[in-house]
């Protein structure tokens, strides 16, 4: 069974249709890249999968491990293993990162009927994960993303991904605002989390990121549809010829 299946998805925002029948099938262990120009609906797709309010699904469906994802509350989706690394992670002043992560992890565990994790055990775990990602300990003591650089914010997203061990990770423009070194560090973090059970959907505008996170499948999105799918060479092809050739197809 595929892990994530988006079938003929139609989505509206404020009466305007943004996604016009989008389909996507992701199997365990696969890394999919979704490329497309600004405004093609990439973030919309990621938000709808995660359950962000404000979007109206007017047609199609999303199955996660065969279950109807659209029927689940967004926090329930998170507990079941859907993770979205945000394009613009928000700041939460006054809430320390470790506190936030602890609360979130326990909420997920509770939803799955697992025991809560105690403060000391959690602290050990989060330190270990942070270390493996080269994230300095003091970042954990600071307010969530408050005063973080662009690179730190993205690394914090990857830290959470590593901590929650989701089944599907959607990374929305992970490369935006990162210089080449920060990009490499972030990509290393993501690669370390690749596994035969886990799938990833990497959304990006540029081919550059895909030099570091090499996808199994590449989809080109334009105007709310997937207009072409192929292997990793499709990304290179796009780099050469740009998105213009797909505008007509859409």
């Amino acid at each position: 069974m595929s892990l994530l299946e988006v079938k003929d998805l139609q989505v509206r925002v404020e009466e305007r249709e943004i996604l016009h029948g989008l389909s996507l099938t992701v199997n365990p262990g696969e890394v999919h890249a979704i490329m497309g120009p600004n405004g093609s609906g990439k973030s919309t797709l990621s938000h709808v999968i995660a359950g962000k309010p404000g979007y109206e699904v007017t047609g199609g469906q999303i199955l996660f491990k065969g279950e109807d994802l659209l029927e689940m509350a967004p926090n329930e989706r998170a507990a079941k293993g859907v993770f979205l690394a945000f394009q613009y992670p928000v700041e939460i002043p006054g809430v320390t990162t470790w506190n936030f992560l602890h609360a979130a992890l326990n909420a997920q565990r509770k939803a799955r009927g697992e025991d809560e994790i105690s403060s000391p055990a959690f602290l050990r775990k989060v330190r270990e994960v942070a270390k493996s990602l080269n994230i300095p300990q003091d970042m954990l003591k600071r307010g969530v993303n408050v005063g973080f650089s662009g690179g730190e914010k993205k690394r914090n997203e990857i830290l959470q991904m590593a901590l929650f061990e989701p089944a599907v990770c959607i990374l929305d423009e992970m490369d935006s605002g990162l210089d080449i070194d920060a990009l490499r560090i972030a990509a290393d973090g993501v690669n370390a989390l690749r596994s035969p059970e886990r799938a990833m959907v990497v959304i990006t505008h540029y081919q550059r990121l895909l030099n570091y996170i090499v996808p199994d499948v590449v989809h080109v999105m334009s105007k709310g549809r997937v207009v072409k799918s192929g292997g990793k060479e499709l990304a290179l092809e796009l780099e050469e010829s740009g998105y213009a050739q797909f505008e007509d197809a859409a």
């Binding site: 309010p53 998170a78 979205l84 945000f86 939460i92 002043p93 809430v95 929650f164």
Partner: protein, 498 residues
């Protein structure tokens, strides 16, 4: 439904059921006849076996009160209070004179147990999680005085306090046992003529706490008072007087609850603090009186006068308050910075939900040289509530080098509530430096969704964001209170009884 909209809906549904402290205790009580007259005042004074000077003091206040009118300047709106329809005194009927805690009516002890208040002399308060990586919290002692309707029912840890020379007892007892101290200080910070509600309190106050910390003594434990209104139609008028003599220090905590009632109940307390040279008082409040139901019916009218007088040089008074309850809050804990180099602080979290109305803030009156004050106010408005910060910072002509820093932040949840900031500043000399910052923000959809995407429920997300918003103030509370306050904040905003 957008996340914020959902919160608003949920908040709207908050009902009496969600008020955790809404139970009533069945005990016999001894009440004054309903209404207010000279006879009521004499009745209360007689009940307390007061000396003649005390009765005179009360009567003078009562006569003054008759000439006064209720203030209307606050941004609160309520039907006229019928002062003749209130019981001004209600005491749980004692079987005999109490000499130890074991003789307290078990029903009352049970009440306090339900409230989670350690009336028994238990030294260790459990359930406080140490900060991550930090040392476990040392077991701390808290001496408790509990006031049930009009009378003080128990004061714990008397022996240990006595050994340190600290006097901590019901004010009714202090009037009899330490008249010289009471006479010297009572009404010197909040005069009987101060304002309508303070004057009323002066006439009819029934009990409250008295603290005296002798020179050079650091009070060996936190002192704490819990107030509970239980009787129907009863006003609670407690009076607290705390004196920190030269070079002494005391931390005092106050907590308040009341059962759910359809009618409104009046609470008009007066708190007076005095610090002499080099002394410090830290006064913390967690106020959780019944706020009324989802239609705005019932709830406590909380008209409170709290003032501290930094009478000595280098002295300090610090107010911290977490206000989550009451239908109406009218409260301005203030500092008179009389002594040179004295300092005052006001840290406040005021949360309003449903139809609650909060008008609260502080006054920092700089009189001495090189005095400083600091105001950090966090207002959170949800539902259809109105939340006003009202503050005054003034520097007298002679208060050279006065400094103030004020930061007022408001957070709105939903679009049917209001937050207002009314700061008054008066600098009568040019060397004063006053800084004021204010922000108003709405709880953001994106922040909530971020939290929810990580697995938190809507309610948990709101609780987390709000607790982050108020963190600077929460940190000022003693740890046991901070934990309680944090829970209370979540409960009062989300309607999810823990």
């Amino acid at each position: 439904m957008p996340a914020v909209q959902e919160t608003v809906e949920r908040v709207r549904r908050i009902d009496v059921d969600q008020y955790r402290y809404g139970f009533e205790t069945q005990i016999e009580s001894d009440k004054a006849p309903k209404g207010l007259s000279e006879d009521t005042v004499r009745f209360i004074s007689a009940k307390k076996n007061e000396p003649a000077w005390m009765l005179e003091w009360r009567l003078e206040a009562y006569r003054r009160w008759l000439t006064m009118t209720e203030p209307t300047w606050a941004r609160v709106d309520y039907p006229k209070i019928d002062y003749q329809d209130i019981y001004y005194y209600s005491a749980p009927k004692p079987k005999k004179t109490l000499s130890s805690i074991d003789e307290i009516d078990p029903e009352i002890l049970k009440t306090y147990e339900k409230l989670g208040i350690p009336l028994r002399e238990v030294a260790i308060l459990e359930g406080v999680e140490p900060p991550p990586g930090g040392p476990p919290s040392p077991s701390r002692k808290i001496a408790v005085d509990a006031v049930f309707d009009s009378v003080s029912v128990a004061t714990t840890f008397q022996k240990e306090l006595k050994a340190a020379g600290v006097i901590f007892m019901p004010i009714s007892e202090a009037i009899r046992e330490h008249p010289e101290l009471v006479q010297k200080y009572l009404g010197t910070v909040v005069p009987t003529s101060d304002n309508y509600f303070a004057t009323l309190n002066s006439a009819v106050f029934s009990d409250g706490s008295f603290v005296y910390v002798p020179p050079g003594v650091r009070c060996p434990m936190e002192l704490s008072t819990y107030f509970r209104i239980n009787e129907r139609n009863t006003g609670q008028f407690e009076r607290t007087l705390i004196i920190a003599d030269k070079g002494s220090y005391v931390s005092y905590l106050e907590g308040c609850t009341a059962p759910q009632r359809d009618e409104n109940q009046l609470h008009a307390a007066v708190v007076e603090l005095v610090t002499l040279d080099d002394a410090e008082i830290k006064y913390s409040t967690v106020q959780n009186w019944y706020p009324g139901n989802s239609e705005g019916k019932g709830g406590i009218y909380n008209f409170v006068t709290k003032r501290g007088d930094c009478r000595g040089k280098n002295s300090k008074i610090s107010w911290t308050q977490v206000e989550t309850g009451s239908a109406i809050t009218w409260k301005y804990p203030s500092c008179i910075l009389r002594g040179d180099n004295s300092s005052g602080e006001f840290y406040s979290i005021a949360i309003s939900n449903g139809y609650q109305q909060v008008d609260s803030g502080t006054k920092m009156i700089h009189l001495g040289k090189n005095t400083s004050s600091r105001i950090i106010s966090k207002g959170i408005a949800a539902g259809r509530s109105q939340n006003t910060y009202r503050g005054l910072v003034s520097a007298h002509r002679k208060a050279t080098g006065a400094r103030n820093y004020t930061a007022c932040d408001s957070l709105l949840i939903g679009d049917k509530c209001g937050a207002h900031t009314v700061p008054y500043v008066e600098a009568k000399n040019s060397s004063a430096t006053f800084e004021h910052e204010a922000t108003t923000s709405k709880i953001s959809e994106d922040v909530l969704f971020y939290c929810i995407q990580r697995g938190l429920s809507q309610e948990e997300a709101v609780g987390l964001v709000v607790n982050g918003f108020v963190k600077d103030v929460l940190q000022q509370l003693p740890m046991e209170f901070a934990v309680e306050a944090q829970k209370l904040i979540s409960i009062s905003l989300e309607g999810s009884v823990g």
